[in-house]
Amino acid sequence: MKIIDWFLDRFRLKNFHRGIFERDIPEGISYFYCLGGIAFSAFLFCFISGLFLSFHYIPSESEAYRSILRIHEEVSLGKVMRGIHKWSANVLIISIVLHSIRVFVTKSYRPPRELNWIVGVMIFILVMFEGFTGYLLPWDQKAYWATVVGTNIAGSIPVIGEAILLIIRGGYDVTGITLMRFYSFHVIWFPLLIIILLWAHFHIIKKLGISKPL
């Protein structure tokens, strides 16, 4: 315990943990209030399994497909890690949807929490983008053509469509450059943005407290 106290003191966090742990919880909240916690758990499982997958995955045109085969056949627990990554992504999306229904039903989006509602919607959009960019990474038939179709939609926007298409594809066609770009979006850009937004999401909850049930 002494060492923990030492760290807390050096980080000047002595009172920080109090803000989280000694917070009052309003009476009469139901188990539906755990959906946000479930979503965050699913995010963490996705994040951790993704860290392990990134040890073995190679985002290149010639190696990507083979590295997925290697993850399945040679890497110990590789297939399990990939399964956890895939299924926690599915659980994450479902739990975010259910969580937002809960917030809508209990009217928790009302002022002063309207900003937190917006942050939540932004996190959901980013999670959907994570799903889209992650789909290409196995670099198989399905992934390739889904990305061609998906990015074509962005390319059909009038005036700015072509510029957006060039940014996300890194050229006019879906190539190894697109794969690199999607990998970067999937493992750096979007997770970073999601973590910043999650910090905002939790910070607002910490400051305003859990909304009182009806």
């Binding site: 989280i20 742990f21 000694e22 917070r23 009052d24 919880i25 309003p26 009476e27 188990y31 755990c34 916690g37 479930i38 758990s41 699913a42 499982f45 497909y65 997925i68 085969l69 399945h72 297939k79 399990v80 990939r82 399964g83 956890i84 895939k86 299924w87 926690s88 599915n90 659980v91 739990s95 937002s100 809508f104 989006y109 009302r110 002022p111 309207e114 509602w117 917006i118 919607v121 959009i125 959907m128 799903g131 889209f132 789909y135 196995p138 198989d140 038939q141 399905k142 992934a143 390739y144 053509w145 889904a146 179709v149 998906g150 074509n152 939609i153 962005a154 059909s156 926007i157 009038p158």
Partner: protein, 120 residues
């Protein structure tokens, strides 16, 4: 008795964290991940997205060619804008109309996902 985050609420949340992990592990072993075929650049192939993009897939098919952005970008943007603005829409139009509008969009999304899921 007043509930505190620690230990009363934290234990409930952690219980659901463990349950979520168990669910994910069970799903992983029941439905292990698959690897698709290698890319065939020569033949165009009609891919199906993951289930959470099926509503978009359904919307896009109403428009073709240059109009694709209406189903693929414009309508989803309107949906997102609606959901983001719910706190203000409710203030302007009242709770009842907000519920109806949200329910209509939700039913469109759920219904289109369902048809696409059943239409293999």
């Amino acid at each position: 008795m007043k509930k505190k985050f620690y230990p009363d609420y934290l234990i409930e949340v952690l219980f659901f964290t463990v349950l979520t992990f168990e669910l994910i592990i069970i799903l992983t072993f029941l439905f292990p991940p698959l690897i698709g075929r290698e890319i065939d650049f020569t033949a165009s192939y009609q891919p199906r997205p993951e289930w959470y993009f099926l509503w978009l897939f359904w919307l896009v098919r109403f428009f073709s060619g240059d109009m694709m952005f209406i189903g693929g970008v414009l309508i989803p943007t309107i949906f997102i804008a609606f959901f983001m603005m719910i706190p203000w829409i409710e203030k302007k139009l009242g709770r009842k109309i907000t519920i109806i509008l949200a329910a209509v969009i939700f039913i469109i999304l759920a219904y289109s996902t369902l048809i696409e899921l059943l239409d293999k």
